[in-house]
Symmetry: C2
Subunit: 156 residues, 2 copies
């Protein structure tokens, strides 16, 4: 990271700080980053295996193992699709939801802790800037950030 790329450098380092925080926190709950991401996605979605593959940018064969390991631990559950007998939907169990809720709360606490050096209004501004970067990127890739608010997302 050179001096000529101050913005990119700061963004990258901030991202690594947050990523590392999430990684350590997930580990305290016996979760890897992929497992934590899976549970995080399932908090407000009930996707099929294929949809999970797209959301996580992984091959469908990788999803099989990821979901199976989570299922073996009782954190998620496979359910046959009602409309397509080829499809399987994945959802959190009660235990899985409790775990991801605890972890998310702690994560929020830790992130807030290292935002202590900012004023409340600055924290809001940071959230706003981050959200806009994400929105711009998501729209450029046709990814659905808030599926619950979209009634009928057409598939490509």
């Amino acid at each position: 990271m050179s001096r000529t790329n101050v913005v990119g450098d700061a963004l990258a380092q901030l991202s690594f700080l947050v990523y590392g925080t999430l990684e350590r926190l997930a580990a305290e709950h016996g979760l890897s980053i992929p497992q934590a991401r899976l549970l995080g996605i399932l908090r407000d979605r009930t996707p099929t295996m294929i949809e999970l593959a797209k959301l996580l940018s992984l091959d469908k064969s990788s999803i099989t193992g990821l979901v199976s390991r989570a299922e073996r631990r009782g954190l998620v559950k496979r359910t046959p699709s009602a409309t397509d007998r080829r499809s399987t939907t994945v959802r959190l169990t009660r235990n899985g939801r409790a775990l991801v809720s605890r972890a998310a709360t702690q994560f929020e606490t830790q992130v807030s802790a290292f935002l202590d050096c900012l004023q409340p209004s600055e924290r809001g501004h940071l959230t706003n800037l981050a959200s806009r970067i994400l929105a711009a990127h998501a729209s450029s890739r046709d990814i659905d950030l808030f599926p619950a608010t979209r009634p009928d997302a057409p598939h490509r």
Copy 2:
């Protein structure tokens, strides 16, 4: 990562975006994230295996394989320590240095591209906020993917 965890959600997703960018970019060069981190560290250091373990927060036994795979590809080289016959120092080869330099340049370009959706003044504000967070934690964590390099110190 629910909607109520606004700050944590936005920062977590932003970190996945940046991390994923590095992952894809590294993959284009045939590198994994751990391999990229290894090469990044070696850009301005010639550590022993034990020192690498500390820098990467990995067990020494993990370093053995990491370095061996990089060495097999001709990217790094093991050299016996001159002062301690138990020790091995690791350094980049010419090819390894060329590879990590190309990758780092591309990474900077892509991260900068995320910021195109912001106004220049907003980019400045983001830099300010991120830098202050990082400064408050400068000593707490060493993610160190591509360590901030001095202006243009010549490598030997």
